[in-house]
Every structure is written in C-alpha cells, then in structure tokens.
C-alpha cells in the first residue's frame, strides 16, 4: 500500500507513516550497504589470503559474523517498518471503507462516541439487539441493520493488527508431498480447519528442472462461531469479507507471507474454504499490483465471492455445491467471467454437510479433475504449475487478534 501521512488510530493516536517509511528506507539501504561491504571485503580478503587457510578461517569467525547478523536485522527491520506503515494506512482505509453512511458518521465528529460505544459493546457477547444499547440505537437508526452489522463486525474484528505466530514446519506426509490435483489442495485446507484453531499454511514448491519456486497458501473457513474472539477467522469476519472489506484474517495472512519469506518472485495460489475463500479472493484484489506478493491463482470452495471484483490476471476456480447456501450469502450469483470459473458440484450432501469440505466438496474433486469440459480443462491447466512440483516444504502459522 502506498500513501502515507498522518493516520489516526483508534484511541486517538496519530502515526506518521511517512516517518516509518523513511526509517525503513534508511534501514534497507543500510542493510544493503553492509552486505555489499562484507561481500567486497570477503572477495578481496579471499584473493589476498589465497594460500593462507588459517587466516581465512579466522576472518570468518570474528566480527564479520556479527556484522552479517546486524545487516540481516537492518533488512528485517526495513520490512517490518514498511509493513507497520502499511498496516496503519490500511487501518485508516478500513474505517473509510466501512460503509457510506458509517463514513459520514465517523467523520462528523461522533467518532469518539462510536469508539466509546464499541468499547462498551466489546464487553457483551454480541449485540444481537442493538436497540437495547443506547449508542447502538443511535447508530442503528442512522445505518439500518446492514450498515450496523458491518460497523459492529468491523469493531469486533479489528482489535489491532493480528499477531502471527509460526507453529513450525509440517513434517507430515501431506506437508512434504507436493499436491497433484484439486483433491490434494482441498485436503490441505481441510487438515487446517479444526474448530477453535486459527492455523493457516504456506507451502513452498520446488522443481528439479530449475523452474522458479511456487507457493500455495491454504486458508480454512470460519473456525469460531462466536464473534469478537481471539481468532480472526471467527464469525465477525464474515460480514466484512462478504462486503469486500478488509479483515484481520486477511491482514494476518499478508503478514504470514512476509514472515515465511515469500517474495514478489513467487507465484502464489491461495486455496480457501468458505471464509478462507473470500479472504483469498480479497487478497487477490488487495495484492494486485503489489510489489511485495504476486497472487496468480485462487481456488475457493463454498465461498460467496460474487461481490469481489477480482483482477483479470488472477485465475479463479470457484467450487460451489449445488445444495450449499453459503456461496449465495452475498445475495448474488457468482456468474464467473473470463478469469473466474464457477464449477457447481453435487456430492449428494445436503444441509450443512453440503458446505463442509470433506462431504460437500472433496468427493467432487476427482470428477472435476476428470472433466472433459473445455473451460474446466483450461482452468486446470492454469493450476498445473502448482500441481507438478518435485518437492515441497510446508510452514504453518496461527493468527490471533491482539
């Protein structure tokens, strides 16, 4: 995200994001200069000490190792400072994008009142009846139920930037075996989707023939059915995501990409179920044109993404079970377009089972892979670079609200 200037944070703090970016620039240049200086020193010293192995070894054991650590730290700090500036700008844009009426409300001097109200409401399980809360009644009157729900969801969803924690390397067979088809992609999401967990994963794919590394991000759906929990993939994220608004879940995934070491050179496929699929589609929009990450493909299962205007250069395969109501929560048919292919499946599951991955979607994966429909085949060809890797390493992360 570009931009900069002064960002007001909930709580009345202003942050000068230009300052943070300037500091990041200095750290970035510093890290680069030190690394180059060290490289030059090593080359010169290696020439000078060509026949003196002992001296060469001494050189490597001394202060250079410490200097290398400092240079790496400077580079890391540069990334963190830039990410922080982005977060503040993103936080500002969240507020501005909440809803048309809400923006007017927030900007007309009642911002502090809304903030106080939100803090009061955070102590209650969920304001199902907004009229029972006096400030809530005022807001409800101005926004109507839909707008009110969005504002409340935003308040409950965004308690500050989410905390992303590495939970390690997935050494299981599934984690170390590259996926071969849609069934494998869905199975990877399914493995992460235990209720109450907020685990997501990033899988690095490598190729013996020298092709560039590819990355698959797996995002499970709603994992906590009460709002305002510590888990950003809870139900509060749903209304925001469906409206195309940023979520703490999505912000956490972006941080995870940075933490995992994903770069702009990696092509990224994001696979998501339900809420995870909406977040996947949103990230494709949010990161379009980003110099940091390159989302090229998205696969969703049971996700309402009709309202999300996905960039034309991102190939999307959207799976919708005929009997799954969730993909229709956005109130619009996901008609698809040139780059968005909606595949309707029927696994015989009904009711909530039609939305669950292993009953509503996974059983149809083989039929999709074996389909001779030209558009399906074309979509599968688009996914092929992610399905014929020679090796894979999977890192898992948990995302939590602060």
């Amino acid at each position: 995200m570009s931009g900069g200037g002064v960002v007001s944070i909930r709580g009345g703090i202003d942050v000068r994001t230009d300052d943070l970016r300037a500091a990041a620039q200095i750290m970035s240049e510093l890290g680069l200069t030190l690394r180059q200086g060290m490289d030059n020193l090593r080359i010169s010293a290696a020439n000078a000490l060509m026949y003196n192995e002992d001296a060469k070894a001494q050189l490597e054991q001394g202060g250079l190792a410490r200097a290398r650590g400092a240079a790496d730290e400077a580079a890391r700090l540069a990334g963190s400072l830039r990410a922080t500036a982005d977060r503040y700008d993103e936080g500002e844009s969240r507020i501005e994008r909440m809803a048309g009426d809400a923006v007017a409300l927030l900007k007309d001097g009642t911002k502090a009142r809304v903030r106080m109200m939100s803090l009061g409401l955070l102590d209650t399980p969920w304001p199902w009846d907004p009229r029972a809360v006096e400030p809530g009644a005022q807001l409800f009157g101005k926004l109507g139920f839909g707008g009110y729900l969005i504002v409340m969801a935003a308040v409950l969803d965004w308690r500050g930037h989410p905390i992303v924690t590495s939970t390690g390397v997935d050494a299981s067979t599934a984690g170390t075996t590259p996926p071969r088809d849609i069934a494998d992609l869905l199975a990877n999401v399914e493995r992460l989707g235990a209720e109450g967990d907020s685990d997501v994963s990033v899988q690095f794919l490598e190729f013996d023939d020298g092709r560039p590394r590819q990355v698959i991000v797996s995002l499970p759906g709603t994992s906590q059915w009460s709002p305002g929990s510590d888990i950003p993939s809870d139900i509060a994220a749903g209304p925001l995501a469906i409206e195309g608004l940023p979520t703490a879940y999505g912000a956490g995934v972006v941080d995870m990409l940075a933490l995992a070491g994903v770069t702009a050179a990696d092509s990224i496929l994001i696979v998501g179920h339900s809420l995870g699929g909406i977040v996947a589609a949103q990230l494709a929009v949010q990161l379009a044109g980003s110099r940091r990450f390159n989302v090229t493909n998205v696969v969703t299962a049971g996700s309402p993404i009709a309202k999300i205007d996905i960039p034309e250069d991102v190939e999307v395969v959207a799976l919708e079970n005929r009997d799954d109501l969730v993909p229709h929560l956005d109130g619009g048919p996901n008609e698809g377009s040139g780059n968005v292919l909606t595949i309707t499946v029927d696994t015989g599951a009904t009711g909530s089972a039609a939305h669950v991955l292993d009953t509503g979607y996974a059983p149809a994966a083989d039929a999709i892979t074996g389909s001779d429909a030209p558009r399906v085949q074309h979509a599968l060809e688009g996914l092929q670079p992610f399905l014929d890797a020679d090796r894979s390493t999977t890192l898992t992360y948990s995302i939590a609200r602060p």
Partner: protein, 84 residues
C-alpha cells in the same frame, strides 16, 4: 619472499577490516538518524524503536569486533614479516 607477500596480504586484510569497521560505525550513526527523525507514537511502532536501539548496539559491537580482527591481522602481518 613468500613470507613477505603473506605479511603484505595480512596487512592488506587488516586495512579492509579497519575500513569495514568504520562503515559499521557510520551505519550506527544512520540508525541514530532514522530514530531521531521518526515520531514514535504508537505501541507497536515503539517496539520497532526498541529494535532500532538494539540494532545500534549490535552495530557498535560488530564494529568493535571487526576492529579487534583488524588488530589481530596487523599482529599476524608483523609476525609473518619477522619470521621471514
């Protein structure tokens, strides 16, 4: 003759290290500039400020170590010249 060349090369490396130590000290100053120019108002940004302070400490320590290395290589160069 070989000893002389070795002494010369060891001295050369000590000069490279000295120069790099100076660069580390300059980097330390740059971190200080970045810190001074930044307004740190939020909790999370303040955490980064602590990182900046830590980085300055690291850079100073690295500079001291590299200077030690330079001195060590100068001593090696002297020994090599004397043992020629």
């Amino acid at each position: 003759m070989g000893g002389m060349t070795d002494a010369h090369n060891l001295h050369l490396v000590s000069c490279y290290l000295e120069e790099f130590a100076e660069r580390l000290v300059a980097a330390c100053g740059q971190v200080g500039t970045a810190d001074a120019q930044t307004q740190w108002q939020s909790t999370s940004a303040t955490a980064y400020r602590r990182h900046l302070v830590d980085l300055r400490v690291d850079l100073r320590a690295a500079a001291a170590l590299v200077q030690d290395d330079a001195a060590r290589f100068r001593a090696l160069a002297r020994q090599s010249a004397q043992s020629r």
